[in-house]
């Protein structure tokens, strides 16, 4: 089985040879190109487009770097990944449109980062546990969370996190990096259960500046837990660019201190992401412990609908990154190989839009819960001391829950 090379995530030697941050592990194998780096004085302008050249299967122009890793060579599998990314992007478009018209709360679009989200989820089994940050709609949809539920959540209704499908997955995590410890605890639970399931968390580049991130990696390493930490490095933590976030040359090398492998992968290459995360998961299932993966991508949209990225970055920078976005390159590859054409594209867009529109309609027609519902799941059973408060907002101190 051939896998893309994610091994150049660490410091490069002065001679220029790629070096894995995990001396004991060869990484997964495709190319040995230089990793992304800032100049030593940290003055690399953040307007420079990211040119990830490692852990790559597809170039931005849609040509392959070499043979595809099994089983991702299967065209149906590739079309599935493409559909997953189209679904995420279509969901994002609809969500932003709903927010702009006052029908959804503040929303964090994943525009440009679909490959990290979908590629990661595609590498997981249903029984694995996912701990997402707030920009991983693509992964959640892939794992079976219904778009109706995602709209509900972002529309301010907690029933959106009561989702069917991946019942053990965590709800999205808003306080940055605080979910990495949850993945560690879940990984310990899965290990104690005695099975081979793993826990996977995704966070952003900014999350690697927090102590929670290091504490989680450190404990996962010390206990050799089946946990995978994917860093979706979209180059911007709201307005603070990657270079200002840390003097660390790569984010992957932060894994070194925890004694666990740290790999870099082209986060706009969904095949490479799926392959790299798949390799990390395989290691974890075999009992080899945790892995941290830095997926290099770019946030093409604002941080959230409440943000205006023009305040801190140029249109030129953004338009440069559009040339590397993940959907075009896979679509081009599929078309070049004879697996995709205009008719199939139009049919897919039609099908996905219809699905997302239906979900939005369902969300919009779902009445809010009665006020007393805020108490319904505060505790397993309403404590007697809270009964007066429930009654004071019109409840009967019973369950108060209504189904959407």
């Amino acid at each position: 089985m051939r896998r893309p090379d994610c091994s150049a995530g660490g410091d490069r030697s002065p001679e220029g040879g790629g070096r894995s941050v995990d001396p004991d592990h060869r990484g997964c194998t495709v190319s040995h190109a230089p990793s992304q780096q800032a100049s030593p004085d940290g003055t690399v302008p953040h307007t420079e487009p990211v040119q990830p050249e490692i852990g790559r299967v597809l170039h931005p122009d849609g040509t392959a770097t070499g043979p595809f890793p099994d089983p991702l060579a299967d065209p149906d599998r590739l079309v599935g990944l493409y559909r997953g990314m189209v679904l995420a992007r279509t969901f994002d478009e609809k969500a932003v449109s709903l927010q702009r018209t006052g029908r959804l709360g503040t929303y964090a679009s994943s525009l440009g980062q679909e490959a990290v989200s979908v590629g990661t989820a595609a590498a997981m089994d249903e029984a694995d546990v996912f701990a997402p940050s707030f920009r991983e709609h693509g992964a959640q949809l892939w794992r079976g969370v219904m778009p109706e539920d995602l709209f509900l959540y972002w529309g301010g209704d907690e029933r959106g996190s009561a989702f069917e499908g991946p019942k053990r997955d965590f709800p999205v995590c808003v306080p940055v990096a605080t979910h990495f410890p949850h993945a560690v605890g879940a990984a310990l639970a899965l290990k104690l259960d005695g099975g081979t399931s793993v826990a996977v968390a995704i966070g952003g580049d900014g999350s690697t500046s927090k102590g929670d991130f290091y504490e989680a990696l450190n404990l996962a390493g010390a206990w050799r837990l089946p946990a995978i930490f994917v860093i979706s490095n979209n180059q911007w933590a709201i307005s603070v660019p990657r270079q200002a976030q840390t003097a660390s040359r790569t984010l992957a090398q932060k894994a070194v201190a925890a004694g666990i492998p740290g790999w870099q992968v082209d986060g706009n290459d969904v095949v490479a992401v799926a392959s790299c995360v798949g390799e990390a998961i395989a290691r974890a299932r075999e009992g080899a412990g945790p892995t941290m993966i830095e997926a290099l991508t770019y946030r093409l949209g604002d941080h959230t609908t409440a943000d205006d990225a023009r305040r801190y970055r140029s249109d030129e920078e953004v338009s440069g990154h559009w040339k590397e976005e993940p959907l075009t390159r896979l679509r081009t590859y599929l078309a070049n190989e004879g697996h995709w054409d205009k008719d199939r594209e139009e049919a897919l867009i039609r099908e996905v839009r219809q699905r997302i529109d239906e979900a939005a309609e369902h969300y919009l027609s779902t009445p809010p819960q009665p006020p007393e519902a805020m108490f319904a799941h505060l505790f397993a059973t309403l404590p007697a001391p809270l009964e007066d408060q429930v009654r004071s907002i019109g409840g009967d101190a019973g369950n108060g829950e209504t189904s959407p």
Binding site: S161, P181, A186, L188, A189, N218, H377, L378, A380, A384
Partner: protein
């Protein structure tokens, strides 16, 4: 002296919980081979093994956060934070996640974890080892805050906390860890949560306290009895959610209340009790509600800590002043 200390009672409860429920996992710093710096987990590693009694790295955030993850997957983690001064990093996890997981997922996931920590002064410990910050946790909806005041309540409340399907912050008054011995039958019987306990009945005034200050409060009631003042004594036990009804009912009867806590006065949990009494018992009050508390100062180091701690004398004096109203 017969009976067991609070440390031994807690150890009995933890051992029973580990025995009766294989989902119970203990984690924390120095809790395994060392048995915890206060020896609460002494011997549990040998009996239950390293999978279930786990030394963590020195890492409070991930101790709490991994406990959330374990609990969400159906385990019953009991995490130890070594001293209350080191508990602050866990507040992020407790407030943002442990307290909210059930609400956020409408019950799809829940967080049956216990966060244990010794709290309070009076044992000549170093800086940051003597704080009483229970009100911070009591202000977080979705958390239970439980504080025992004796070996027997420690045993029964700890079992209740571990069996409870929701997160519990369990604060152990370390001044009482070895101060008192009493008989504790290891029957597995838990004490009820969310209920204040009327320890002693009296008609003249109500003394309300919790944790280590119950020691001085009980002594004060004895002293006052010698002066002909019959004090009702309430051990709050569960600060959140607060069983205000029991306290209000007592004060409707006595008309006077003195609240005693070691934590600083302002914003201390006594303020909440006083507010409840003002709201629900004002017309029955014959004297102002009094609070005997720590001062609004940084917890002093050991040379001055005795001057900081509410004393039996201060409690008695507040009670006598209350008795001057009629």
């Amino acid at each position: 002296m017969t009976g067991v200390t609070m440390v031994e009672a807690l150890n009995l409860a933890l051992a029973r919980a580990l025995r009766e429920d294989e989902r119970v996992v203990l984690l924390g710093e120095d809790i395994a081979a060392d048995g915890g710096v206060f020896r609460v987990t002494d011997g549990l590693l040998a009996t239950f093994g390293a999978d279930r009694v786990r030394d963590t790295p020195l890492s409070e955030t991930v101790i709490a956060g991994a406990s959330v993850g374990l609990a969400a997957m159906g385990y019953r983690p009991v995490a130890e934070i070594q001293f209350m001064g080191f508990i602050y990093p866990t507040i992020d996890q407790m407030a943002n996640h442990a307290a909210r997981l059930r609400t956020r997922t409408r019950g799809r996931l829940s967080c049956p974890m216990v966060l244990r920590a010794p709290y309070g002064g009076g044992v000549h410990a170093p800086e940051h080892h003597s704080e009483s910050m229970e009100a911070m946790f009591a202000h977080i909806p979705g958390l239970r805050v439980v504080i025992p005041s004796s070996p027997r309540t420690a045993y029964g409340l700890m079992l209740a906390a571990i069996r409870d399907p929701d997160p519990v912050v369990f604060l152990e008054p370390k001044r009482l860890y070895r101060a008192v011995r009493e008989t504790v039958e290891d029957t597995g019987e838990a004490l009820p949560l969310d209920r204040c306990a009327v320890e002693r009945e009296g008609r003249d005034l109500t003394l309300v306290s919790w944790g280590a200050m119950m020691l001085e409060t009980r002594k004060a009631a004895e002293t006052l009895a010698g002066e002909g003042i019959e004090a009702e004594v309430i051990d709050v036990r569960t600060l959140a959610p607060l069983d205000a009804r029991t306290i209000v009912d007592s004060v409707l009867k006595t008309g006077r209340c003195v609240i005693v806590h070691e934590a600083p006065l302002t914003g201390g949990f006594g303020a909440e009790i006083a507010a409840r009494l003002a709201g629900e018992g004002l017309m029955s009050l014959v004297a102002p509600v009094a609070r005997v508390a720590g001062y609004d100062t940084v917890m002093p180091l050991l040379r001055l800590e005795a001057a900081y701690m509410p004393s039996t004398d201060r409690i008695c004096e507040a009670a006598r002043q209350a008795m001057e109203f009629s």
